[in-house]
Structures are given as structure tokens and as C-alpha cells.
Symmetry: C2
Subunit: 221 residues, 2 copies
Amino acid sequence: MKNIIDLPNATAERIPMYYRYLKMLEENQVQRIKSQEFSKIVHVPSATIRRDFSCFGELGRSGYGYDVVFLEKTFAKVLNIERLEKIALIGVGNLGLALIKNNFRRNPNLQITIAFEVNETLTDTIVSGVPIYGMDLLKEKIKENEITTAISTVPSSDANQVLQNLAAAGVHAVLNFAPERLDIPEGMTVRYIDLTSELQNLIYLSNRNQARIENDMVDQF
Amino acid sequence: MKNIIDLPNATAERIPMYYRYLKMLEENQVQRIKSQEFSKIVHVPSATIRRDFSCFGELGRSGYGYDVVFLEKTFAKVLNIERLEKIALIGVGNLGLALIKNNFRRNPNLQITIAFEVNETLTDTIVSGVPIYGMDLLKEKIKENEITTAISTVPSSDANQVLQNLAAAGVHAVLNFAPERLDIPEGMTVRYIDLTSELQNLIYLSNRNQARIENDMVDQF
DNA sequence: CTCAGTTTGTAAGTTATTTCACATAATATA
DNA sequence: TATATTATGTGAAATAACTTACAAACTGAG
């Protein structure tokens, strides 16, 4: 069983996705799964799956496959799922609102607990059970609630300032929806989701696929 | 200049991000940029940047760097930006609504043109200039508008059915927000955005970073 | 124009990731 | 219990991605 510290990055990236599908299988009363079957579900080659799993010990049984519940429990431990992760949301615009309303409902360990917004028509209200404060209370409230994880949907121009404040308040993990690259404070982990680039990327890769298909057509003759 | 077909995947993944920052630089009247400066902005090593760029020819000049406008134009061509990409949105819930309202405003070539939703209080209305139809009109309207790209925010249970219908309507690129893995029709390119897994991943990687930091502390003594 | 100082583009070397392929071990059936 | 079958876990090979390091090319100051 490898230490979390020297787990290959590529593997680490896939764990949450594996976990999600294992939970789905469990919900559907599936008791056992072979790496080949799982491969079809998660779209990852079975050899890669087996190698990934093997980082956490010998989880399966030859000639049988993997016990879904056991796998699910193992990854839950790896992901530290039993711990409630209180999350602060910074920026309650259209996207922020969507996040609050959804609030990772299917994952009881993930919960947006407080939110912050500059727009004064929203501050000091409660949306979907989440209290919304002004930016001036950011540090205070985050410390008070001992929150270490945040989601930022604020515009690029403010993103850096917000990040510094979050760091000062003790946050060390931020999911950031602004495309601007940030000056990341020491010890902080930031993950970007840039929907525009994702879409652009999709279109680009799709064009490439189409080109490949045409290319293969030509090769055939 | 490499053909789009055999561009390395890792490079292809970075192009839209490069493009986005080049546009920002252009907006800020920056005329030239060195790979080392750009590296600080996009958080990619300068050697990787140079290698990536070199896939598209010799774009820079020794002792000078890269001309921002020229780069931007080059990548615009690569990404086929001049073409207006009309996009269909399937599922106008909280997230869908946020997407419509934002509608990639800063990228005039990307535009959600029509949307579809089962909820009848929304069908046959217009939101932020985007007409919303019932699901029964999906094929017809998509064909009529010659749309080949779609964003799907429908729940897992319906995602597969929607995908088949989209394929039948001629769509070959889909950005999918449902976590369910799909049976991807021949010739279709699907990209997943799973916000829950992203968040879970962030927390996991952050924990790993924290563990590494502690580990380094110990090593020092 | 000259030349010291830059910065590119890439060959070669390194590291990371994926894939193959199979010995090993457990299953399942009779 | 015996045995044909199945599927894991993992060396070893292959591929992909990244990094180093530097010759060659260009700049810009004098």
C-alpha cells in the first residue's frame, strides 16, 4: 500500500471518479465487479484500473474480481469521506447560485456552509439554507467556522485579492472558476475550472477526431 | 508545422488556455512576450511552452520572443475561432440557467443559440435571448439550425437518451455535466465536467500537499 | 556595422504513464 | 475433491510527456 505522498499523479486524479462510480454500483446493488466490466463504465483501460487499485493493496481476488462495497469503503477512507468538508463559496452570481442550490446534494460530506458576495441585495440573506455575508466578514466568518476549503466564482479582477484573504483566513484548498491565473500563496492548492476553455477544447478535439475519421477513410482505399 | 491529427494530446489540451491568455495580453496592449514571461502567467514551464508552440511552426524570434498579436492570430486559426459555433443547451436547470445568462460573453464565436428543457414552465419562453423548446423538438430544431455542438446538463438518468438523440440530429461534440458515463455513439466526442469529482479531487490533492509539507518539515531535522 | 546579450527551437536525456502479457491464485462446477 | 476457467497483480516493454542544455539566430545598444 503506497503512501498518499508518492501516489502517481495520474492515479490520484482518477480516484474521485472511481469512487463516484463505485457508489453508483453500490446503489444499484451490484456486489462484485471485474476490472474489465468497470473499464466499460469509467472508460479507463482495465490494466490501468488494476494498476491504480494495486496502489492501495491487493483489493481484488483472482478469478472473482472486486467486492464493490469493500472497494467503495477503501476509497472512502483514501478520500477521507467520513469527514464533513465545510465549504465557503465566494461570489454568488449565476454560477454561484447554481452551486448553492445544488450543493453537492448526493455527497453528504461536501457542503457549502457559508457564502460571500459584494452585491448588497444578496448580503445578509439566506439562500437554500446558506447564509450570505458581505466580503468584509470573509476572514472572520471563515475562521469562526474553521473552514479550509473554498470555491471562488468571483471575476478575474478580484480573484487574486480574494485568494490572499482566503489564505490569511486559513483556507488551503480553492476551486477557482475565474480564468485568470493566480499568484498562489505558499502551501495553498488551487484547481481551475475554466468553462470557456473546456468548451473550446471540446470543439478542437472534436474537429481533430473528425479529421482523423476522414483520414482513416482515405487510408482504406 | 504538425498536422492537427498528430498533435500530442497534452499540447492540444493546453491550446485553448494559451489562447485565452494571449487574448488577455492583447487586450492589455502587450506587444511581445518571452516564453519565460508567459510561463509565469499560464503556470507551464517555458520549455514546454516553446515545445508546444513549435508544433505550429517557428512562431518566435531568437533574442526577441513572440509577437502577441501574431501568436493570437495563429492560435485563432488553429482553434478555428473565426467560425461562429452555435451551441445547443440541453437542460435548463440552475446550472443551465447560469450558462445561458453568461453565454461565453467574452468569446463572440461561442454562442448558446437554442435550449431544450422538459419542465413546461420554461418551454416556449425566451431566456437571455435564447429560445427554450420542449424535448420533442430537439432533433428538428438542431437540424434546422445546423448545430453540431451541445452542452448537456440533464440528470444522469436521461443523459444517455439525450446523447443518442443528439447524435441522430448530427451533433458530434458534447460537453456533459452529468457524472454518468455514457455510451458514446460512433464519431462523437464527449467531454465531461464533473464538479463533484473536481471538488473531491481538490480536497484530496490539497491533503496530499499538506502531507508533503509536513513530510518536508520532518526531513529538515 | 559590430558585438555582447538574449531567446528561440530542438536533440538528447529523463521521468511518468500506459500497455502487454503471463505466472499465480482463487473460483466455480461437477 | 479435482480441474477447467477466470481474473488479479505486476514485471517488463512501450509510449508519452517533460526537462535539460545548448547551438543557432536574432536583437539592440553603442
